[in-house]
Every structure is written in structure tokens, then in C-alpha cells.
Symmetry: C2
Subunit: 240 residues, 2 copies
């Protein structure tokens, strides 16, 4: 049975303009791989409602799970929650349980739950809250879409809250062989090996170091014995 | 007049599986911003023909320019050139000028231009070659799609070859004010300022440092005087 699939949607002008380096994709891809969920696509779109609505509707129709990152803070450019409500065709408003979380948090801090902060309690109708132990303002899940903050510490905490609720597959195992020859010398034998082991994925990732070419050959699969067998054969083809 | 738009398509299982950190998006976004081209979307898809074809067709129909990264090497998992040919509905074969480049390169190296390496001379009909001063195997341009290698040094060299041929817009200017207060305190006044200067973009990028909350407020626009005026007003609202 194929593994469940996932897509990630990153919302943020600051990434597209080159101001900020995207920081959550690498983390999420590693976590999903560990539990046997295949991340099949990532999209990064700007803080525009139409772009978010269109991307989330395309991705949620195609993949088992969608995880979004960014755009759920208190400022005017944080429009993700409204765009998700629009994508699902449901109303959105301040919700009592989310407001109570924020009220308690700002009371503890001696800060005011002003109109801007209250925006973070706006939750699309029918969603469930995602716990945020870092800065309290919750994410939410609606349908197969999990809406999370972009700040890496908060994103990671929300992923930790949601991951155990997702149905995983067989974790992907991988082994890597570093071959100090040009990819052009590796490609022919590797293609034959890939055909022989067509239940496995074999990738070649070239590098250049101190003027010499080489490649890391990665063999991936869910059956440890098959991955071992293919790796043994590959090592025999390219002895160190 | 609005700036020309661009999208980036990254092809690579190794990024989606968390093995490799994506390394070209940050560079490209910065280069495009400098010449006034708005990067509006990035997609990362796996090494599957259908995924590449579908993404490239969606992006080239929507944006002025599409730049792809990855999947044009000599190994069996390098299928980008074939997928691009399929997306444009044109044939693909080894082309003489590309083969000549490779032949001269491998002759100099005393290496053989074998079947695997010759794959890198497969160019969709009607494309023009993109110069690769780093490792010779060319990228190519077809329609509004520029197909480049994923290895960062080669990607950057290809971007340098192509950028001067693209029509840019007004470069985006940006100024940043670091405010050491929570976003919730900033959001109200910032939203009013954004309404007053509705020809500018204002973004708020929160951070947490040593337990204190703050935000970098970025004001972007193409008119320096307007950006200055908005920043002066913002500084007045939040004196250091």
C-alpha cells in the first residue's frame, strides 16, 4: 500500500522577496519522512488572499494532508485564517475558547488583549485548535488542512502537536554511498541497478569538492532487506 | 505599471524527503528583487514526470517567467528535460551544438562522452541553450521557461547568464525598523499606516530573543520618497 501523501503551503512575501530564508520546510520534510508520510509538493505563495485560496484548494484536493506555515499573527498582513475560511466556504469569527487562551496568556503577562491580538482568536467555523505551548495563539485544523505559525519554534511545536494524530505509513529507510567519480561514470550502472530494484528509489546527488567530482547515491525503500541487497550490489560496482 | 512576475519550480525528491536543504530559492529571490521582477510563487515537486509537466504548465500560463532548478544531470532520475518537452508538446533529442560542447569538455578532461553524459545534450526542439561556465552541460530556454541545474554553483552561473535577457521592472526598495515590542502592540498603528500608504507594502516579521518579543517592520515600494515618508512616520509612532 502506498504511503499517505502530504503537501506544505508556505505563506510569506518575505520569503519570495529574498528577505528571509525559508526555515520550516527542511524540518517538516524530515519529520514526515520519519513517520512514513510522503511530502509530495511544497508551494510558497505571497500574502494575497486569492493566491492562498487557490493553492490550498488545489493541494487539499490532491494530497491526504496539507500543512500551512505563516500568516496567522496579529498584524494586518496576517490573512491566512481568513483565506482558509474562504477556501472552505465557511464563516470566520473570534471564538470563545481561543479568546480565553489568549486572555489568560496576556493577563499573566500584564498586557492588554487588544483588537490586534484578538485577531489571533479568529477561527474558521468547524475547525479544531492546534496547541501552541510556545506563544499560546493557537493554530487550527479544518478538514485535512493544518494551519500553523511561521515562526520556527512555534511551527515545530505545532507539528509535534499534530503529527501523532496523522496516520503514517512505512517509514522510508535510506542508505547512502559516496562515490568519488563523476556522475557520468556512475549513471549507466546505476540505471541498470534501478531497473533491477524497481521497488526502490535511487537518487544521485552530485557534488564538487576541491576540484574533484563525486556523487552521493541514495537508495530508499521501506524494505530493509531490499535496500541492503541493492546497496551491497552498488558497493560491488564501485569499490572505494 | 506592475512589475513583471516570475515563478520558480524546484525539482527534487531529495528536498521533499528532507535529505537536502533547498539551496537556490534564497539566491534567486534576491537576484530577481534587485532587477524589479516579482517572484510570486515557488513550487517544489518530486522527480515524477506528471508532477513536473503539470506544474510547469500551470506556472508558465500564470507568470511572465518561470525558472526551474534541478534534474538535468546524466543519471536516470534526471528527467526534467524530457518533462519540459512533454509540457510544451515538442520532441526532444540529442542536439549537435550541445553535444559539441560536451565532447570538447570531456576531451579536455580525458573522459569519455558515454551514453549517460550524452543525455545532458538532450534539448527540446526550439529551445536555446543557457551557458554553463562551471561544468559545461547547458541549461535551456523554451518559451518563457528557463531550465537550470540544481547544483548551486551551476544554478547561480545560469541565473547570471539569463537575468540580463529578462525585462525587469522598478527595483523594490525596502527599509526595516526593528521594534522591541510585541506584534500585538504594533499591529493597530501599523494597520492604519498601511491604509494611509496603500501604494506600499508593509510586513511585520516577529522574533523572540532572550525571552523578549519584537518585530522587524519592513516597508517596501518602488518610490524612495514614499518609503522614506512612511518610515519617518513609523519611527515617530515607535520611538526607540
Amino acid at each position: 500500500m502506498p504511503n499517505p501523501t502530504a503537501a506544505m503551503l508556505v505563506i510569506g512575501d518575505e520569503i519570495l522577496s529574498g528577505r528571509t530564508r525559508e526555515a520550516n520546510m527542511y524540518y517538516l520534510s524530515g519529520e514526515l519522512t520519519k513517520v512514513g508520510i510522503d511530502l509530495e509538493e511544497v508551494r510558497i505563495v505571497s500574502d494575497k488572499s486569492a493566491a492562498i485560496v487557490s493553492a490550498v484548494n488545489a493541494l487539499r484536493a490532491t494530497f491526504d494532508t496539507v500543512i500551512t506555515s505563516g500568516g496567522i499573527g496579529p498584524t494586518h498582513d496576517d490573512i491566512t485564517a481568513d483565506a482558509i475560511a474562504q477556501a472552505f466556504g465557511v464563516p470566520i469569527d473570534v471564538r470563545d475558547d481561543a479568546r480565553a487562551l489568549l486572555q489568560a496568556h496576556y493577563d499573566r503577562q500584564g498586557a492588554e488583549l487588544n483588537a490586534a491580538r484578538l485577531r489571533m482568536a479568529r477561527i474558521p467555523k468547524g475547525a479544531t485548535l492546534i496547541d501552541n505551548p510556545v506563544s499560546i495563539a493557537p493554530g487550527f485544523t479544518i478538514g485535512n488542512v493544518h494551519v500553523m505559525a511561521g515562526v520556527p519554534a512555534v511551527f515545530q511545536a505545532m507539528v509535534a502537536s499534530v503529527l501523532p494524530t496523522l496516520i503514517g505509513g512505512a517509514p522510508l529507510l535510506s542508505q547512502t554511498l559516496r562515490i568519488q567519480r563523476g556522475e557520468g561514470d556512475i549513471a549507466g550502472p546505476l540505471a541498470e541497478l534501478a531497473q533491477e530494484f524497481d521497488d526502490l528509489q535511487m537518487g544521485s546527488y552530485p557534488y564538487q569538492k576541491d576540484g574533484a567530482y563525486g556523487a552521493n547515491i541514495v537508495i530508499r525503500g521501506t524494505d530493509a532487506a531490499r535496500v541492503n541487497a541493492a546497496m551491497t550490489k552498488l558497493s560491488g560496482l564501485f569499490p572505494a
